[in-house]
Amino acid sequence: MATPAAVVRPTRTLRKPLISGDELAKAFTFFFAALIIVVTFALVWQLWIGSSPAKEKFGFRFLTSSLWNPVTDEYGALPFIYGTLLTSFLALLISVPLGVGAAIYLSELASPRLSNTLTFLVELLAAVPSVIFGLIAIFSLVPLMRDYIEPALQNAFGSTPLFSGPAFGVGYLTAGMILAVMTFPFIISVSREALMAVPREQREAALALGATKWESTWQIVLPFAKLGILGSVFLGLARALGETMAVTMVIGNDPAIHASLLAPGYTIAAVIANEFTEASGKMYSSALVELGLVLFALTMLINGVAQLMIVLTTKKGSAKA
């Protein structure tokens, strides 16, 4: 049944533009979003093409060989993979407890004013260029490690292979320490955000049952925020894996695998930065590009594992993101 209102409803088709603003906006933003994928694929493509001579010559051996000899054109990535993983692991070993501990203090215990001031300083620390960290490491940390810390470690644990050998000052441990300082601000500020996002009702529920402040923080607040804290750890790890300049300055540049943490080593990022300008032959530069591909794959792999862990912990129903 036609109502009078339906009869007089005006038609607006005449004023409709060819393409509406919404559609235009959608097309534009899609283009920007698609760029991300295009750039990533272009990057992988270039690494893949650039490394093909080395891939053809060494095959899978590239990943398992620890021989790196530009004179004989023999290249193996294992010392660099080892150095990269070891220094990043050492960095997290130091920076995660420190960073999460500091985040707990800033979000749960400090007065808001102190917390904001300290967080501002921490975020300044995150903005310091890495070459400055490297410089400080060379002039302050390396002598300190060589003259005091490493001899002390040798005295205490010298019988174990982990702390054997001469104290050079440069090496895995020093690189791990400077990386710890560099990842620390990320872990603090992201963990603090995660802790502050825990609803006050959660804290009060625990306190109202007779929990102490510490019990409430440790048993309720921290588990609630664990996804965010895990996120901060992986953000720190991503930075540690790819960090180039500061590590290059203190790692010792030795393409070999040493059991001792005090020994000099090498990381993937450091060897690329150091040797690219002097990579004369085709195979040499191709091997360096393949190292780049390995680092890319390593980072992707670790991020993938991180995402998987997050999905699994969420599925268990432990915490909502």
């Binding site: 529920a205 625990a206 109202a208 049952l209 019990e215 268990k316 129903g317």
Partner: protein, 294 residues
């Protein structure tokens, strides 16, 4: 004008009078033995489980509570009503000292539980004895079982006791056992809002509190879930003393034995619930319950 025995004397109606209610024994005169020959067992004087005297509370420089003196009768439900921002929640949160976890707050006056000043006692013990249920359901991101067992665990109440028994008993007391018994180890978030709130009540009951404070426990729930919780409260009062803050006057009328009316940080009136709703002694109370403001 009525001459109800529950009405305050004219002097107390003055604006500057300290806000305090009647003594609970004035409210329940039948509970006082009238003659030596009384034989009925129920003729016991009511005891005050908790008593606040001249409580002032400050958020920074802002005074949120003005001179509140109030008695909570043992095994009764006391409702606190009043418009938003009147201080009823603040007052409730001083009773288990949870408000002192907020920064820059100050409490004056005394609050006694069984005659002992709670401000002098160990705060975790006080909070164990006085349970609290919050406005929005706030289960921990754990299983139903772990939610209940958390309180007994931190209070060292599991020694020589069967944890599963505590869980079952608490869920039964909160009328949630039948709905939850088959999914004890599933996430508490799998429950509906009303079930989550009953889980929070069960969690509070698991540590055997002597008092239960509820801060607008049904404001986020639908009418059916609300009715379940109200039934539950009436059933629980034989085991503990209940204080409920509500902005729903019908709820106060349904569940509470006595009701206190708060306005602008003051306790205007505290009397038996039917007196408050049928024959309040203060004009402010009457205006509020007749819907003239708030």
């Amino acid at each position: 004008m009525s001459t109800s025995p529950y009405m305050l004397p004219e002097k107390a109606r003055h604006q500057d009078a300290p806000s305090h209610g009647l003594s609970i024994n004035d409210m329940f005169p039948t509970a006082i033995p009238h003659s030596a020959g009384a034989t009925t067992a129920v003729l016991q004087p009511l005891t005050a489980k908790m008593k606040t005297e001249h409580v002032n509370f400050y958020y920074g420089k802002f005074q949120a509570l003005h001179d509140i003196s109030l008695e909570f009768a043992s095994n009764k439900v006391t409702a606190l009503i009043g418009p938003s921002g009147c201080g009823k929640s603040t007052f409730l949160r001083t009773l288990n000292r949870i408000n002192e976890t907020l920064r820059d707050t100050r409490l004056e006056g005394s609050i006694t539980l069984d005659g002992e000043n709670i401000l002098d006692k160990d705060v975790t013990e006080i909070r164990r004895r006085i349970g609290m249920v919050f406005q929005r359901p706030n289960p921990f991101p754990k299983s139903i079982y772990d939610n209940i067992i958390y309180g007994p665990k931190i209070n060292g109440m599991l020694k020589g006791k069967n944890a599963a028994e505590i869980v079952e008993k608490s869920l039964r007391r909160a009328a949630l056992w039948d709905e939850a018994k088959d999914k004890l180890h599933e996430s508490a978030y799998a429950l509906s809002g009303g079930q989550q709130q009953r889980l929070c009540i069960a969690r509070a009951l698991a540590v055997d509190p002597e008092m239960l404070l509820l801060d607008e426990p049904c404001s986020a729930l639908d009418p059916i879930a609300t009715a379940k919780i109200e039934d539950l409260l009436v059933g629980l009062k034989s085991q503990c003393t209940i204080v409920i803050v509500t902005h729903n006057m019908q709820q106060a009328a349904r569940v509470a034995d006595t009701t206190g009316f708060f306005l602008l940080g003051r306790l205007i009136e505290h009397a038996k619930t039917d007196i408050i709703f049928k024959n309040p002694s203060k004009k402010e109370t009457e205006d509020y319950i007749t819907g003239r403001f708030g």
